[in-house]
């Protein structure tokens, strides 16, 4: 179902999105990402960064234009197929409140494969192998076993929760990680440490990244940057 290996990871064409009840339209210049490439998407609050991630994940349908991931056009898929595609190929990290409080940290990580047979297979296929992959990821992202095995999900600090969320987004090696200001609730020191671990783990699986933040200082970790300006009409590459 995936296009030829040569097809770009992400390509958008003349994307435009208008929220219902709003006159302002978000217009995004055409974007193209190679497999494994890392893009920083900057811009002030309200400039439409989260909206772009919604479009790239196939949850939002653009008013005009089309998004292709791995050569597959969202416009040509039914809603169910888009959901399945997202489960199989995309990982998503929110700014905060990423976890289901009634699941343990490891169960939260495994949720990343719950709707995808493909990612379950890549994470080890059996329950026990998937669990050990989940714990490996948590460790690689800097969360020791003592923390995740003894704390309830709700008792984790914000930084620890973000690590669990990153592990969930990365389990089963998705082709593309979408991260919506995952570090904005962290202090400067843990932010850089977290980002380094996150990007290392992405590199391991060849996972491409679209990372959103209003903090332009983080742009140096990425191959490329795009900034949305305050007036969500235009975007320019830096």
């Amino acid at each position: 179902m995936i296009g030829p290996a040569s097809s770009p990871l992400v390509s958008t064409r003349s994307l435009r999105h208008t929220w219902p009840g709003s006159s302002a339209a978000l217009v995004l210049g055409d974007l193209e990402l190679a497999p494994g490439e890392r893009l920083f998407l900057g811009g002030p609050s309200g400039s439409g960064k989260s909206t772009v991630l919604g479009l790239l994940s196939g949850v939002l349908a653009p008013t005009d234009g089309d998004v292709r991931i791995l050569g597959m056009s969202f416009a040509s898929m039914a809603a169910r197929a888009r959901d399945r595609f997202r489960a199989n190929h995309l990982g998503y990290i929110f700014q905060q409140f990423n976890l289901l409080p009634f699941l343990t940290p490891v169960e939260n990580v495994l949720l990343g494969c719950a709707w995808s047979a493909e990612r379950s297979r890549r994470a080890g296929a059996t329950r026990s192998l998937m669990t050990s992959e989940a714990t490996r990821l948590l460790g690689a992202l800097g969360l020791g076993q003592r923390t995740w095995s003894h704390a309830r999900t709700g008792e984790l600090s914000v930084g620890q929760q973000q690590r669990v969320a990153a592990a969930r987004a990365l389990i089963g090696g998705p082709e593309l990680l979408l991260a919506d200001e995952p570090t904005s609730a962290l202090d400067a020191a843990s932010r850089d440490a977290f980002l380094t671990l996150l990007l290392d783990e992405c590199a391991r699986h060849g996972t491409g990244v679209v990372f959103v933040s209003h903090d332009l200082a983080l742009a140096r970790h990425f191959d490329r940057g795009v900034t949305l300006d305050g007036d969500p009409r235009d975007s320019r590459e830096s």
Partner: protein, 418 residues
């Protein structure tokens, strides 16, 4: 299955809210089924006020009238059956037993039934329950009386106490049979039937207290003492009604016809179940009122659940966004909420049924003695459709929050804006 375990874990997280919702539903189910059980038992208990009796025979009137005065002790008989007719009925080859009933006297508002000891063997009620004695035994002496449980409870009588019967059924100027006092020989257990409010004495006793009476007045100069009366001829001249048991139920209609066509006096034989059914029909509108009430109770319970589910929905928008982000479809989000309310409904139903069973087990004796209701744990057949209805309503109610969540997760995208 994945959804199911997610739902269970999510519910476990919200114990307080879940407990409250389950409790609301349990109460509705409790009331709904409780009313249904009381309704059915009231009808069945009523229909089996007399059971095991094949025919009820009295002077010719209407079936309901006969039933009212002979069994329910409401109103008075206009005519009696002569002793000869009674003997003729007894002698019919199809007849296995008879229980004579002679009414017309009272004691402090409770009616006195003159009968034979066959009454204690053959008068059955409910599902074939025989009369039982809480204390004492049937009458054996001429001036023995057996009292029903209600009589004992209200008048604080016990075995050995003496009581004086009054002539007639009520009114301020009751002449008393003070010269012939009775002794309580037994107290019957509660039955929930008019027997509880009855004082049973022998036919001969009725005759004895009236030997010196004629047409409702005591004949002056003819007084007979209690002792003297024992030596007089106490064969009754007439009785009010009789219960008839047949050797085979198959002959019921034939015997009924024979009695109704009895040439020497106009008699009426009725099948007690049929007459009871007719009577219930008259008072049965109360039944529909009960049903309406329990229907409203159910609606209140369901809207309670709906309120709780919708209230929790706000807190759970982020949960839904997370599920969408990992690839759950909007349909899954919908299914999650419907499953949740279905589980809550099932939980509430189980709790309600358990509550009802516990309550009926605890209140069993109390209900028999105060309301004459025999409510046992067995679910009435009408309860299954009711439970299915509750389940359907519960799942349907879950569709509303499910739909709201579905719409929202489409509108929110992955961003929850609170």
């Amino acid at each position: 299955m994945r959804l199911f375990s997610l739902t269970l874990k999510s519910l476990r997280q919200r114990k307080a809210g879940v407990a409250l919702t389950v409790f609301t539903i349990a109460l509705s189910v409790f009331l709904l089924l409780g009313v249904e059980r009381v309704r059915i038992e009231a009808r069945q208990g009523f229909a089996s006020t007399v059971s095991g009796t094949d025919l009820l025979v009295g002077a010719r009137s209407g079936p309901v009238t006969l039933l009212l005065y002979s069994i329910f002790h409401i109103g008075e008989a206009t005519n009696n059956i002569t002793w000869k007719s009674y003997q003729d009925i007894r002698a019919m080859p199809e007849v296995a037993w008879t229980v004579p009933l002679s009414l017309g006297d009272s004691h402090r508002g409770f009616r006195v039934t003159g009968t034979s000891t066959a009454f204690f063997d053959h008068y059955h009620y409910g599902r074939g329950n025989a009369l039982a004695f809480a204390s004492g035994k049937p009458f054996s002496d001429l001036y023995d009386a057996v009292i029903g449980s209600e009589v004992a409870r209200q008048l604080h009588y016990k075995v050995g106490d003496s009581l004086v019967l009054s002539h007639g059924l009520g009114g301020p100027h009751l002449a008393s049979h003070a010269d012939k006092p009775f002794r309580v020989s037994g107290v019957m257990s509660p039955t929930g039937t008019p027997v509880d409010a009855t004082i049973a004495v022998s036919l001969e006793a009725i005759e004895a207290i009236h030997v010196d009476w004629h047409s409702g007045i005591r004949l002056p100069g003819m007084e007979a003492s209690a002792e003297q009366a024992r030596h007089m001829d106490l064969t009754p001249k007439a009785i009010t009604a009789t219960l008839v048991g047949l050797r085979s139920r198959l002959s019921a209609f034939a015997v009924q016809r024979a009695i109704n066509e009895y040439p020497e006096e106009p008699l009426l034989a009725v099948l007690p179940g049929v007459a009871l059914g007719e009577l219930w029909h008259l008072v049965g509108t109360a039944e529909n009122a009960l049903r309406v009430v329990s229907g409203m109770v159910l609606l209140v319970g369901m809207s309670g659940m709906l309120t709780a589910l919708l209230g929790m929905l706000g807190e759970r928008r982020r949960e839904m966004a997370v599920l969408r982000a990992v690839g759950a479809s909007t349909r899954t989000v919908f299914a999650l909420l419907v499953m949740e309310s279905t589980l809550l409904t099932i939980g509430g139903m189980l709790a309600g049924v358990a509550l009802l069973d516990a309550a009926t087990a605890l209140a069993h004796d109390y209900l028999i003695s105060t309301a004459g209701l025999v409510i046992d744990g067995t679910p009435a057949p009408g309860e299954w459709p009711l439970l299915l209805l509750v389940l359907a309503l519960g799942s349907l109610a879950g569709c509303i929050p499910g739909w709201v969540a579905y719409r929202r997760s489409l509108a929110d995208g992955l961003q929850v804006r609170l």
